[in-house]
């Protein structure tokens, strides 16, 4: 093909991943036994577009895999097949496999052929059994040595034959959708020896003919050993716009019953149309029972219906997938764009008004008034535009939430627990970057709630609770933050156990007095776990500290509230966006720095009686019951301060990673929202500085990185010693 398809490939991947998400959601919503036709249709459509797209882009593995899924779904749609739990599980697994295939293809890596083949075999098995119960386990293929891997085995042997008879009757309006039969015939011709006989029986009378309508039908015979799916692929795009019958041509060696309507003339070509030959009967019977005869040369894992065997490749593939999905595009609703365009319009009007004002010869009292009005309008326009541009990056949190029903579904089965997941506030919007980074911590918290929080059904019943546990995932906006709550009605944290563990592991001193909240907070300490058994799901003691660290890195907080026997609530607070930060401007000497507001606990005037020196090397400030190390910003940053005396300055108490320090600054300016600019773009990262911003007067102010500052202040003890001696309190 002469033109470059690669530009559309990325879109295809994106749409396919979306399609897979839809399939997954709908599959989970599918009621076993009485399936909703609309739901199946939705799944079918998603599978169909992936198949179509992958065919177009030459991703044959994906296309053939989806084709099998599609066939299965099609039978369900037509009511030929019951929707069983088994079928749904296999379909879910297929969705996973497809997702892995697509992401490996996107990353241009090698496909995991074994895994694909094993899942495909399951699908094939399922497809072969019209009424299956627990059949797939029984028909696990004979333990044969994996034959050399052969990817393109798409159809069972009975579906290929020496030739095909295709009865193709386009609907009257097929041509109007831009489909050209000649092109399709050419494609068919490439597959094998093609004979085309036009069927003019539908042709309208000459006077009734419309040039844009199709009045012809065709009878095609295609000779050669061709897969039915290849032929179907040619007609993929016109499936709904024609009557299509594909029948195998009966020859002396292969025979198959002709199920579908066949033209009389075709039948006459066959040797013996009516009685079913013995040969084909045997093929019919043998084929489902022995799914792996010679042609199905897929390397088969011994027991494909066993889950542990497949879990590992899945995990490996998941780990690989990460980098591919991170950099992607964003879909913006047309409303948001329209709003923005309106605003740009207003901005242009304001601008022209102001420039007209500037061009005027006279500049009197009334012009000043107009100018003021104009500036006010400009300010409003700018603010609105900023908000709207930010909203473009905002996506509903359902993008993250939608993966959890599946997670809960899988895990509760594994843990033998009955758990219902309730989602609310899915339409709450947050920044895409934040969203990408919050997924993993959330997965972790939910796994924890499932594993540690919710009890097993018998324990629950004994405790007088309903058998089915409930995990509630909720999101809402509060101020400039988004709050995500994970509530479970499980056993709650065992505070005594946590405390004793903490004491034995030395995290807490033997005689320390801790409040309940302090104890609950211990679970976020590195290496802390109370689980007696390290399970597959959680309990290794890595995790909660990582969760907290990740959330902190986003400028957010996480905490836990728990009531024994009633449950726990994990609350995550995150800034809505990473591009803008609420900051407090502070002055040191001639420089202005921005301290992120989230990390500030309080700002206090120095009471020298509370300043204590420690071995002349460092100073601490007694704040109520706490001793907080004092960090002199001018010292760390080597700038000349306005005041040398500690009592002239102000202390800003900040917290990072659980440590508090008091920053000594000269003065506080206002609080303001600042736009974060990277220092690294043109320079490099600097310790203690997380970025820069541009102030109202056009100058640059540096944004402090509090945890980095704490690290520096520890390193440069030597320097501190030099200056503290002179200002000993």
């Amino acid at each position: 093909m002469s033109f470059d398809m690669s530009q559309f490939l990325e879109t295809f991947y994106e749409e396919s991943f979306e399609g897979l998400d839809i399939m997954e959601t709908e599959l989970l919503a599918l009621d076993v036994g009485e399936a909703d036709l609309e739901t199946i249709n939705t799944i079918f459509r998603a599978a169909h577009s992936i198949k179509g797209g992958s065919g177009t882009f030459g991703l044959d593995d994906v296309a053939s895999f989806t084709h099998v899924m599609e066939t299965l779904l099609d039978e369900m749609r037509d009511g030929k097949r019951d929707v069983t739990q088994n079928a749904v599980n296999i379909l879910l697994e297929s969705v996973d496999v497809l997702r892995e295939m697509l992401s490996t293809l996107q990353a241009e890596e090698e496909l995991d052929v074994d895994r694909i083949a094993s899942v495909k075999l399951k699908l094939d098995n399922l497809l072969a059994h019209v009424s299956d119960d627990d059949a797939p386990a029984a028909v696990a293929p004979p333990t044969q040595e994996p034959a050399p891997i052969q990817e393109t085995v798409t159809e069972s042997p009975s579906e290929s034959s020496v030739g095909w008879i295709i009865d193709f009757k386009p609907h009257i309006d097929m041509l109007q959708t831009g489909n050209d039969p000649v092109r399709m015939f050419r494609e068919l011709d490439a597959l094998g020896e093609l004979n085309v006989t036009p069927d003019t029986s539908f042709l309208p009378e000459f006077l009734m003919m419309e040039p844009e309508n199709s009045g012809l039908g065709w009878m095609l015979t295609l000779k050669g050993n061709i897969l039915k799916s290849d032929i179907e692929e040619v007609f993929d795009w016109v499936e709904d716009e024609c009557d299509l019958t594909i029948t195998p041509m009966v020859s002396s060696t292969t025979a198959k019953p002709v199920e579908e309507i066949v033209e009389a003339e075709v039948i006459s070509e066959q040797e013996d149309p009516t009685p079913i030959p013995v040969k084909e009967a045997t093929i019919e019977k043998v084929e489902p029972a022995a799914p792996a005869p010679a042609p199905v040369a897929e390397s088969v894992t011994p027991a494909p219906s066993d889950t542990p065997a497949e879990d590992k490749p899945a995990a490996a593939a998941k780990a690989k997938r990460k980098p591919a999905t991170e950099a992607s595009s964003i879909r913006v609703s047309i409303d948001k764009v329209d709003e923005l365009i309106n605003m740009v319009g207003e901005l242009v009007i304001t601008q022209s008004m102001l420039s007209q004002l500037g061009e005027g010869e006279e500049f009197g009292e009334s012009e000043v008034e107009k100018l003021k009005n104009g500036l006010m309008q400009l300010e409003r326009n700018t603010r609105e535009m900023q908000e709207n541009v930010m909203r473009i990056r905002m996506l509903p949190i359902s993008f993250v939430f939608q993966r959890f029903p599946r997670l809960v579904h899988d895990l509760s089965g594994k843990l033998d627990k009955k758990i219902e997941l309730v989602l609310s506030g899915e339409s709450t919007e947050l920044d895409k970057t934040v969203m990408e980074k919050i997924g993993d911590p959330l997965v972790h918290l939910i796994r924890n709630s499932l594993d540690h929080g919710i009890e097993t059904p018998d324990v629950r019943v004994a405790a007088g609770k309903p058998e089915t546990g409930e995990i509630h995932l909720n999101a809402y906006h509060e101020g400039g933050n988004i709050v995500i709550e994970i509530t479970d009605d499980g056993a709650g944290l065992n505070l005594e156990k946590i405390l004793s563990k903490a004491k034995t592991s030395g995290l807490v001193g033997e005689n320390d007095k801790l409040t309940d909240e302090d104890i609950a907070d211990l679970i976020f300490q590195p290496g802390f776990s109370t689980a007696d058994v390290v399970s597959d799901v959680s309990g290794r003691g890595v995790g909660m500290d990582v969760v907290r660290r990740n959330i902190r890195a986003l400028g957010g907080t996480v905490d836990v509230k728990t009531t024994v026997g009633v449950g726990s609530v994990f609350t995550i607070r995150l800034p809505l966006t990473l591009a803008i930060l609420d900051g407090q401007s502070v002055v040191v000497g001639d420089e202005v720095y921005i301290v992120p507001l989230v990390s500030i606990i309080e700002s206090i005037q120095v009471d020298t009686s509370l300043v204590n020196g420690i071995t002349g090397q460092a100073q601490v400030y007694r704040l109520r019951d706490d001793y907080i190390p004092i960090v002199r910003l001018y010292d760390v940053f080597n700038v000349k301060p306005m005041y040398d005396n500690i009592e002239d300055g102000l202390l800003v108490v900040v917290e990072a990673e659980g440590k508090k320090v008091a920053l000594l600054v000269d003065d506080l300016l206002g609080q303001q929202q600042v736009v974060i600019k990277s220092l690294e773009t043109n320079f490099k990262s600097v310790e203690g500085i997380s970025g820069a911003t541009i102030l109202g007067d056009g100058t640059v102010a540096l944004i402090l990185d509090v945890s980095g500052l704490i690290a520096i202040s520890k390193k440069s003890k030597k320097k501190v010693r030099k200056t503290t001696t002179s200002v000993a309190a």
Binding site: F637, N638, V639, K677, S678, F683, G688, T699, V700, L702
Partner: protein, 189 residues
């Protein structure tokens, strides 16, 4: 106030002379072997940089200091919304420091650093001088000065009307690895 106006005039004049030169040169006599260099003065010597790398020339203005960086990094400025580091070449070359005067300018350069990534950086110099057309074979390799002199930033020497112009390898000179390396050395001191 007066000083800054004067400064601006100086910069203006300098950039005008450049503009004039460029028009004089015309595009006709430029071929593959010809390269254009913008030259500037630093402690009486004339240095040249590839003119295609020059983004703009602006007067010296206050910068925001960046802590814990080498001394020659004067700080960062806001250049139409991006944060641009400013490097004082006199300090970089261990020359005697000079009070910034009306001719002191910042040449904003586009620096390539490794993997197709380019950075915008500014260098503070005593003043801009001229624009020269040079044939590639006119540029001679810098001689080896021995251990005492770091000549790795010099990509070549060229003679223009009896004068010598030192052609700088700005990619090397303003490479971030180079900056980081120097910083760790200075920290160890």
């Amino acid at each position: 106030m007066a000083a800054s106006e004067q400064k601006l005039e100086a910069v203006d004049a300098a950039s005008k002379s450049i503009a004039m030169d460029t028009t004089m040169i015309g595009s006709g006599d430029l071929d593959e072997n010809t390269q254009q260099f913008l030259t500037f003065i630093l402690a009486g010597e004339e240095y040249g940089v590839d003119i295609l790398r020059v983004q703009e020339i602006k007067g010296w203005d206050a910068v925001t200091q960046v802590p814990n960086t080498p001394e020659y990094v004067r700080g960062v400025i806001n250049l139409r919304g991006t944060i641009v580091p400013i490097i004082d070449l006199r300090i970089r070359f261990d020359m005697e420091q000079l009070e910034y005067g009306p001719t002191t300018v910042v040449i904003v350069l586009k620096v390539k650093s490794g993997d197709d990534h380019s950075r915008i950086m500014g260098i503070v110099v005593d003043g801009v001088s001229d624009v020269y057309n040079m044939q590639k074979d006119e540029i001679k390799a810098a001689p080896d000065f021995g251990d005492g002199v770091d000549s790795s930033f010099v990509s070549g020497l060229a003679a223009v009307e009896e004068k010598m112009v030192i052609i700088l390898d700005i990619d090397h000179m303003l490479n971030s690895d180079e900056l980081a390396k120097v910083q760790t050395i200075s920290e160890e001191d």
